[in-house]
């Protein structure tokens, strides 16, 4: 009898690798995967996406999830993703069968010149937004029921239609209040999702409070959206609308415009001020997005509960900035390499072409033009795909890893006493989400 007599490892961290430059603190959740493996998966995946004009995405998505899930270790046990590409491909085809008639009806309705025609756009938009939220919920159910932890399946109850109405209402409020109620919207939506989420018989819930997120993020809102509000108020009170009408009426008449502007120098200043207020949020939004992401992710993770198991995240803003800087660094590298290759090819073509007098024939010139156009499109596609791979590895994976590893669990012992319930759900929601482009992990 051969016995491989290593004792069953009692420590919960059998697969964790020592990471250089980091002191390894045993934490509740750990991510085991290496960038190198994810690079390989992504590069091969995006190449196949290009060749198959995107049909390969079902397999790539499944591979990505298998990688992310199976490398996420919670209390010594990794998650398992059991979904298959075939399932989501079929789900997608079913979704197309549902969506095509809807798109067809909306198209026919826009042809009507009466009331229906003018309303068709709005009705269509509302309908598709609802369907989008419906799909978000169903896709989540699909992913949860394909997630297994310690031999227990996650599942999700609750009506997707109710969720769609609830979420859409919140989003309307978010838009109407220029984002001020966003924290409460997020809290409400997460509460809805989490109270319908189960690991076996262990019910989840969400305890993040909107007020708390509001307090943490209010400064961000003030810096980004505040100036727009201020600008709108100034415009509404200070702007001479009669003058604006004059300008619009004389927009082609230069002399008249000159006269209007010299007589009312103030309006130019006001318009310039307005323009700068509108570009401001673009700039701050770009610079502060990592802060926003860090705050919302930490808040979200810290609000997760399963029974009496409570999560608490210690994600730091600096970490998320680090991920973004890493991503920027890599994309710059890719861009430089791409331009370099393009420049070499161009120089070679021009050099050889001139030397052999190839360009002097108009027919040849045309061929070169077509080849150049095709080459340009190809280079663009290749670069875009490499960017996308970089984005997945250096940003999405990095954020996944740092959020996971920032989480600490209390009362984790409860996770030993879960019993099984829940059956796998249909992948149609996932397909709808894909067809409507509202997917995600």
């Amino acid at each position: 009898m051969t016995t491989f007599d290593a004792p069953a490892p009692a420590a919960p961290l059998p697969l964790r690798r020592a990471q250089p430059f980091f002191i390894q603190i045993p934490s509740a959740i750990w991510f085991l995967g290496r960038d190198r493996d994810y690079w390989r998966l992504m590069i091969r995946g995006v190449a196949l996406l290009a060749v198959t004009l995107g049909i390969y995405r079902f397999w790539l998505t499944t591979d990505q999830r298998r990688f992310l899930w199976s490398n996420t270790e919670i209390l010594g046990q990794t998650l398992e993703y059991t979904g298959t590409a075939r399932e989501i491909l079929i789900g997608f085809l079913v979704a197309i069968a549902i969506l095509v008639p809807i798109y067809g009806l909306i198209f026919l309705a826009t042809l009507d010149l009466g009331l229906i025609g003018s309303l068709a756009g709005i009705i269509g938009f509302v309908l598709l937004s609802l369907l989008g939220q419906f799909a978000v919920y169903r896709a989540r159910r699909y992913r949860l029921t394909r997630t297994i932890y310690r031999g227990m399946r996650f599942h999700q109850t609750g009506s997707a239609t109710a969720f769609a109405l609830y979420a859409l209402l919140w989003w309307v409020l978010v838009v109407l209040t220029l984002g001020l109620v966003y924290p409460w919207a997020q809290a409400g939506i997460e509460r809805f999702k989490m109270r319908n989420t189960y690991l076996g018989n262990l019910q989840g819930r969400f305890e993040g409070s909107g007020g708390r997120l509001f307090r943490e993020g209010f400064v961000l809102w003030l810096v980004t959206v505040g100036p727009i509000v201020l600008g709108l108020v100034i415009f509404a009170t200070q702007l001479d609308f009669k003058l604006l009408e004059d300008i619009a009426a004389n927009i082609t008449n230069e002399d008249e415009l000159k006269r209007i502007f010299t007589d009312n120098a103030g309006i130019l200043v006001l318009l310039a001020f307005g323009a700068s207020l509108l570009t401001w949020p673009l700039m701050t939004g770009f610079l502060l997005y990592p802060v926003f992401q860090a705050i919302t992710m930490r808040w979200w993770a810290s609000g997760l509960r399963f029974g009496d198991v409570a999560a608490k995240s210690s994600l730091r803003v600096g970490q998320v900035y680090g991920a973004y800087l890493g991503f920027l660094g890599w994309t710059s590298l890719v861009s430089i390499m791409g331009s370099f290759v393009a420049a070499i090819v161009a120089v070679l073509v021009l050099g050889v072409g001139t030397a052999t007098k190839f360009f002097e024939d108009a027919g040849n010139l045309e061929t070169v033009g077509v080849a150049g156009a095709i080459g340009g499109v190809m280079l663009y596609v290749i670069l875009a795909l490499v960017y996308s791979a970089t984005y997945h590895v250096k940003l999405k994976l990095a954020v996944w890893r740092m959020v996971a590893q920032s989480i600490d669990l209390t009362n984790a012992g409860t996770l030993d006493t879960v019993s099984s319930v829940g059956a796998p759900a249909s992948p149609v929601g996932e397909g709808l989400a894909d067809a409507l482009s509202v997917g995600g992990y």
Binding site: T3, P14, L49, G54, I55, Y56, S70, T78, A435
Partner: protein
């Protein structure tokens, strides 16, 4: 001979973790708890390998009622299980073979969809267009008309954008309607035609679904004889007769569906899509224009006009060679078109479609 080693077992009923001993007997894999109970007894051919991180073998029972999972880290034990069980494929050979099949079939599907877009969709649009009721086509035209009008009217001329309404333009309009009227009678189209001259300097004319034809001022300025102008109008009537507007909308919707929905929008896919559509569009339109040309020649001769005049004005407007590669051009090579027109048309009749006075009047249609 039995081989055994350590493992971690979850029975699928509760989440409790069991540290177990795995025993590999001749036909089955036995999972025994510390106190010697048998927790699982899985035949080797029923074992399935499940997704797991590197360095861990995770297995379950294929088609099992519960989600019982056995995890093995010990590399020699994992290798021993792999040796005995056919479904377990740690080297990934079978998975790679499956994936190659997937890649082959997805590429085949892509090729078939692209071929469908190039040949199937325009053919289908051509077959389907005659079944679209004329009423629907007119409504489609009205919807498109509003958009096109505001797009064309870039100087915001509003009501003055149409020529022939001012008092000074009335006589010109009568002449224009005489010319167009002769073509309308000769064409005998199933749909009423609405033909309008627009104050636009390009030498062009366009047709919208539902029998709406717009002739630009620039075209009238460039025309040297009434037959030349009539030739272009006859060409546009060809688009009306073949229902090219409706066909275009159908074909556009078809390719949008194929490329936009079935094929995903992967990053960078947008560029491929635009490039593909440009090339496709120009190949559709080359056929469409050639057919409208031959219709125009026939119609002109039915209306006792000069069939070759269309070629003459084409040469004047688009003459000279284009530096742009021909696949990217919307219209077929002008030279080829002119040659085809001249090949079809009979020699010019003795008198033009309008007399000199009428033609001089018509030329002033946008003078008001």
């Amino acid at each position: 001979m039995t081989t055994s080693g350590p493992g971690i077992f979850f029975d699928g009923v509760t989440s409790a973790r069991h540290d177990v001993t795995v025993e590999l007997s001749t036909d089955t894999l036995l999972v025994r708890s510390v106190d010697g109970r048998t927790l699982a007894d899985w035949p080797y051919d029923r074992i399935e390998e499940l997704s797991a991180p590197q360095g861990l073998l995770r297995i379950g029972r294929r088609g099992g009622i519960t989600l019982a999972r056995l995890e093995v880290i010990e590399p020699n034990l994992a290798a021993a299980i792999d040796d005995r069980s056919v479904p377990i494929d740690r080297s990934g050979t079978a998975a790679r073979r499956d994936r190659r099949k997937v890649v082959f079939w997805t590429i085949a599907a892509t090729v078939s969809l692209v071929l469908m877009a190039i040949f199937g969709v325009p053919e289908l649009a051509t077959r389907l267009a005659p079944y679209v009721p004329l009423g629907a086509e007119r409504r489609l035209g009205a919807a498109v008309d509003a958009q096109i009008r505001s797009l064309l009217d870039d100087k915001k001329a509003g009501a003055r954008f149409e020529c022939g309404n001012a008092d000074a333009e009335k006589s010109a309009r009568i002449a224009f309607e005489k010319l167009a009227g002769e073509l309308v009678i000769a064409a005998d189209l199933p749909i009423p035609i609405r033909i309008t001259v627009l104050r636009k300097s390009e030498a062009n004319a366009i047709t919208l679904p539902g029998g709406i034809v717009y002739v630009f001022q620039g075209l009238i300025d460039k025309s040297e004889t009434p037959d030349e102008l009539a030739g272009v109008i006859a060409h546009e009537f060809g688009h009306v007769a073949h229902r090219d507007g409706t066909r275009h909308v159908l074909a556009h919707a078809g390719t949008a569906l194929l490329f936009g929905m079935l094929l995903g929008d992967f990053v960078g896919g947008g560029a491929v899509l635009i490039a593909a559509r440009t090339v496709l569009q120009s190949s559709y339109s080359r056929d469409v224009e050639a057919t409208a040309d031959s219709y125009a020649v026939n119609l002109m001769e039915k209306a006792e006009g000069n069939g070759r005049a269309l070629g003459t004005i084409l040469d004047r407007i688009a003459g000279g060679s284009h530096p742009i590669p021909k696949v990217l051009l919307d219209h077929p090579e002008t030279k080829d078109r002119i040659a085809a027109i001249n090949g079809m048309a009979r020699p010019a009749p003795a008198k033009p479609m309008l007399n000199n006075t009428q033609w001089a009047q018509l030329k002033r249609i946008c003078s008001g």
